[in-house]
Amino acid sequence: MALLEVKELSINFGGLLALDNISFEIDKEQITSIIGPNGAGKTTVFNCLTGFYSVSSGKILVNLGKKTFHLERMRGDQIARDARIARTFQNIRLFSQMTLLENLLVAQHKTLMRASGWSLSGLLGLSSWKKAEAEAIQLAEEWLHKVALIDRANDVAESLSYGEQRRLEIARAMCTKPLVLCLDEPAAGLNPRESAQLNCLISEIKDETSIGIILIEHDMNVVMEISDQVIVLNYGCKIASGTPSEIKINPRVIEAYLGEPDPETGGRISD
């Protein structure tokens, strides 16, 4: 059974059918890329997965061995907390006045809240709470190392550069200890060097943890290089899915990206 199953997912806003009958599966230790032209519904898929939009019809299931979560019936915060789906945002959403370390500790709210006895043992300063806090800080520290921001740990998030903020957002999502990580255009606005670093980071996360990663990305080089599976959306419909090499030669994908084939040339596009 796949980790995440999306079955016949549809959503409409008023009269607009933003997603039409989309189905796909995501396994752990895999990177799945969702691509498509602007307005194809890629971010809408994320918003459905993470509970920000309520689904019009269809099912989204997360299988955790014994338990199965029906995401379409859960609130956003429950999905993140219980079904453990973490995400980043297209327009970065950090806690800008708080320090990097604090950003990563907020991500561990669930664990810390329980450890602090819903603030009671925390107020009394019991040792169990102190231990849990130290562990949380350690985890945050590890992630700050991985995203190469450890020396900025005590600075406010606002003071980071754009690329650094993107990395911090990924670290924050990872601090929730997710099973599925949804990255919404993580390379947007990065320079080629930062973009390459980011690819390394994503591959590293894939190799070192056993989570499933869903990636929305426009840079085809990145997509083809690191993904195991590619899903192509256009106007809210899934038009293709498969391995990168399959997608590259799929005529419908080429059509969606480059427009109608010209009848004069017979639809072949020169490389």
Partner: protein, 490 residues
């Protein structure tokens, strides 16, 4: 004239020669005198009195001359300070100060302004000696302050607490000052409570006075109907206020910013109007009197005890002093303020405190990380309201009488002003602002009708100078100590 300005601009960076500097300063002073005279002759110089059937004009010659002289000395010394003639300008400032002090008895406001002006001029001249320009000297002071702050901050807070503890027994302290300090501390509690809601969780609450009223009325009503004492009503009042906080929280969960402010404003008014109109329970606008005073382990602070009981002074075999009751209330308030301080300081560093701040920064991101905004908002409302309730109970105990009149919108506005002026989210800032906003207007009651004018001016000055509040620097809830080590190690 042209010649003079040219010279001035040429030589400005260097100290002017004595003669030029003095001449410029005198000219500045004379011009200021002229402006003052033009302004003050109609404003202060002439006033009308009822004389039989009509109005008669009277003149305040002395005040007029005095103000003009003060302005001259002030402007003269300020010019000297600006051109670097420190000694003379300090002398001028001191003269102004002394003159102000001398006349503050007979001419009230003019004397006080003279004192203030003198102090400002002395400060200005001292600053200009530290570094060349005004902003530079500001930086200088800031650095000095930060350095001393770092070294002395633990000692400083201890010293402050010690001063507060011996405060009732200082020779200058009288009943009026004690009463005022209790009021100020009540507002510190209110400010800290509202600070949780507005400063930390970022939920603008314009009806905070409602919780103050709930605390005060729960004590008054429980005492009136069930003869309960202060010590039982204190936690009950806090609990009830917290409950009302949750009650308010539920309908406004989805609102933000302006909309939230309007609904909370309405909530504050609702509570007050209920208190006025539910006459059978609350005695309406007449209020409730005879609220019992706090007791010392059951011992009352009265001259004569009720049947079969003893009073505080009888038990300890002391002579009866009416001030003892006020001193006792002072200590209760002080204890509660210290308790509140440690509570809030602690809870800010717990996950719940960080969650409040995260919610203020970005609610969507909070949800994506598994934080439940509903619970976090409700906990902020409840805890904030709890402090309002405690403050309300104290207020009722201090006054002995409460009526809905004490819980109007202006109270909410003042508490919010305390939070904003102090710096959102800053504990020390809120305390400082409470002292300034509550203490000073009471202190300067002699200024009479100028009091609120000065108060307004002070707020405008502070908010232009420090738009984020007096002490707005945010201290992180947790910091990584060994960054250097890890940097070199990793």
């Amino acid at each position: 004239m042209e010649d003079r300005t040219q010279k001035k601009s040429e030589m400005n960076p260097l100290p002017l020669s004595n003669w030029h500097a003095h001449r410029n300063a005198i000219m500045d002073g004379l011009i200021s005198c002229l402006i003052t005279a033009v302004l003050l002759i109609p404003l202060t110089g002439i006033y009308s009195v009822q004389d039989g059937g009509g109005l008669a004009l009277k003149y305040r010659i002395w005040e007029l001359i005095l103000s003009i002289i003060f302005v001259f000395i002030g402007r003269f010394s300020l010019s000297l300070a600006e051109s670097g003639h420190q000694k003379l300008s300090i002398c001028g400032g001191l003269v102004l100060f002394l003159a102000g002090a001398l006349w503050s008895g007979s001419h009230g406001i003019i004397g006080v302004l003279g004192i203030l002006g003198g102090v400002l001029i002395v400060i200005r001249s001292l600053w200009s000696s530290q570094s060349g320009n005004f902003t530079g000297s500001l930086e200088c002071i800031k650095k000095l302050f930060q350095n001393t702050n770092k070294q002395w901050s633990p000692h400083l807070s201890l010293i402050m607490v010690l001063i507060a503890v011996i405060f009732p027994f200082l020779p200058l302290t009288d009943r009026w000052i004690l009463d005022l300090s209790i009021l100020v501390m009540t507002y510190i509690l209110l400010g800290w409570g509202l600070n949780i809601v507005v400063g930390l969780a970022g939920l603008l609450d314009l009806g905070y006075v409602a919780f103050y009223a709930v605390g005060a009325y729960s004590f008054a009503l429980l005492a009136y109907y069930y003869q309960l004492g202060f010590w039982i009503c204190l936690p009950l009042g806090a609990l009830l206020a917290a409950l009302f906080g949750i009650l308010l929280g539920f309908p406004v969960l989805r609102l933000r910013g302006d909309y939230l402010a309007i609904v909370t404003l309405g909530f504050g008014e609702m509570i007050r109007i209920i208190l006025i109109n539910w006459v059978s329970l609350t005695q309406g606008p007449n209020g409730i009197s005879g609220i019992p005073r706090p007791t010392f382990f059951g011992l009352e602070f009265k001259r004569r005890a009720a049947e079969g009981a003893e009073t505080f002074h009888q038990y300890f075999d002391l002579p009866y002093r009416p001030i003892d009751r006020v001193i006792f209330l002072f200590y209760i308030t002080l204890g509660l303020v210290l308790l509140a301080h440690f509570f809030i300081k602690r809870i800010r560093n717990l996950p719940i405190g960080r969650a409040w701040e995260a919610l203020r920064e970005d609610e969507v991101a909070c949800r994506s990380l598994g934080l439940n905004p509903t619970n976090i908002k409700l906990s902020a409302f409840a805890l904030g309201a709890m402090f309002g309730g405690v403050a309300g109970t104290l207020f009722a105990a201090r006054q002995g009488f409460i009526s809905p009149e004490s819980f109007t919108f202006i109270e909410s506005a003042i508490i919010l002003a305390v939070v904003v002026l102090g710096g959102m989210g800053s504990q020390a800032g809120v305390a400082l602002a409470a002292v300034l906003l509550i203490g000073l207007p009471e202190w300067f009651r002699e200024l009479e009708q100028y009091r609120m004018l000065c108060f307004g001016a002070l707020m405008v000055i502070v908010m232009t100078w420090k738009p984020k509040g007096l002490l707005s620097r945010r201290v992180p809830s947790v910091t990584l100590e060994n960054i250097e080590r890890t940097r070199t190690g990793g």
